[in-house]
C-alpha cells in the first residue's frame, strides 16, 4: 500500500467515477459488463476485506472501501430498450475506481 498520500475514502456520494478496464486472473467481483464505464457513487457501503485476496486464502486486510455505483442502463447496453432513466446499481471496491 502507498505511503498514505491517498486518503482512506477516495470518493463520496455524488462523485463521478470510472471503472478500470482491466482483466486480471483470479476471483474478481467487478462484473465484466461495467469495466471501463462511468457512473456515480450512490453511497459508501463500508470497508470490507478484499474478496480477491480472501479467495486465495489470504486475509484480505487492510479492508477496502466498498461503494454502490449507479450506472444509467443506456450507458451500459448500447441496445437498451427500457426507459432512459433506468439504472443499474453495482457494488464496486475502491481499487477498481478512478476519477473519469
Amino acid at each position: 500500500m502507498s505511503s498514505g498520500s491517498v486518503p482512506e475514502f477516495r470518493f463520496k456520494a455524488g462523485d463521478r467515477v470510472k471503472v478500470r478496464k482491466a482483466y486480471p486472473l483470479g476471483h474478481i467481483r467487478t462484473p465484466y459488463y461495467i469495466r471501463g464505464l462511468s457512473g456515480t457513487i450512490e453511497r459508501l457501503c463500508g470497508e470490507f476485506p478484499n474478496p480477491e485476496e480472501l479467495a486465495q486464502m489470504r486475509d484480505g486486510l487492510p479492508p477496502v472501501p466498498l461503494y454502490r455505483v449507479r450506472f444509467l442502463q443506456k450507458d451500459v447496453w448500447p441496445d437498451y430498450r427500457g426507459a432512459p432513466q433506468d439504472t443499474l446499481d453495482v457494488e464496486i471496491f475502491q481499487h477498481w475506481l478512478d476519477t473519469p
Binding site: P31, Q85, L88, E91
Partner: protein
C-alpha cells in the same frame, strides 16, 4: 423427483456429500449434531421474516426511516438475529421499482428470505435481469409503465438487498399480520408486487 417405491441410487455428488461429511466428522472438524442444528436453523429462515419487516415499515414511519438508513440495525431492533448480514433495503415508490439479482453467483438475503429459488440462481435470470429487466419482469407477469424508473441491484459484494414493496391501496387499517400475509418472497426480490387476495 423420486417416485415412491423406486430405488434411487445415490448420485456421485450425493456420495461426495456423505463422504466429505463423514471425513469432517471423523477428523473432528464438524459434528453431525452441529450440521443437523444448522440445517434446522436454515429451515426456520423463511420469507415470513422478511414479510414481517416490510409490514412493520408499512405501519411505522419511524421504523421505515431507520430501515432505509441502516437496514441491519433496524431489523435487529425487531429482535431478529442476523449474524453476518449487511442489509440494504430499497424502497419501491410510485416513481421507482427495484429488483435484485446476483450476476456473479447467487447472493441473496437468506437470513430474511431463506434459500433462493432455482430461477434466481439460473443462468437466464442472472444474464438477462441486468440487461433487459422490463422484459424479464413482464415474463414474470409484471408490467411497468415507462415513466416508472426501474433500478436493478446487482449484489456483487458484501451487501444483501431486500425490496420494500409499495403498500397497495385498499389495505388501510389492516393489522401487521394481515399486511405481512400479502408480502411474498417474489415481492421482496422485486419480480412481483403485493396483491390483495
Amino acid at each position: 423427483m423420486s417416485e415412491p417405491g423406486k430405488y434411487q441410487p445415490y448420485s456421485y455428488f450425493q456420495l461426495m456429500e456423505i463422504s466429505l461429511r463423514e471425513l469432517l466428522v471423523e477428523k473432528g472438524v464438524l459434528t453431525e449434531e452441529s450440521i443437523r442444528a444448522e440445517v434446522q436453523a436454515m429451515r426456520g429462515r423463511t420469507p415470513e421474516r422478511g414479510a414481517g419487516v416490510v409490514a412493520r415499515a408499512w405501519v411505522d414511519a419511524e421504523f421505515k426511516k431507520r430501515l432505509l438508513e441502516n437496514a441491519t440495525r433496524a431489523c435487529e431492533s425487531l429482535g431478529l438475529e442476523l449474524p453476518g448480514l449487511k442489509l440494504v433495503v430499497v424502497e419501491n415508490t410510485a416513481e421507482v421499482h427495484n429488483v435484485i439479482v446476483c450476476t456473479l453467483c447467487s447472493c441473496y438475503p437468506r437470513m430474511l428470505l431463506g434459500i433462493p429459488p432455482d430461477w434466481y440462481k439460473s443462468r437466464n435470470y442472472r444474464s438477462r435481469m441486468v440487461r433487459e429487466p422490463r422484459t424479464v419482469l413482464s415474463e414474470f407477469g409484471l408490467e411497468l409503465a415507462e415513466k416508472i424508473l426501474v433500478r436493478v441491484h446487482d449484489s456483487t459484494a458484501d451487501m444483501r438487498y431486500l425490496v420494500l414493496p409499495k403498500r397497495p391501496a385498499g389495505t388501510e387499517g389492516w393489522s401487521e399480520e394481515k399486511l405481512a400475509s400479502i408480502v411474498t418472497r417474489d415481492c421482496m426480490i422485486g419480480v412481483a408486487v403485493p396483491l390483495l387476495h
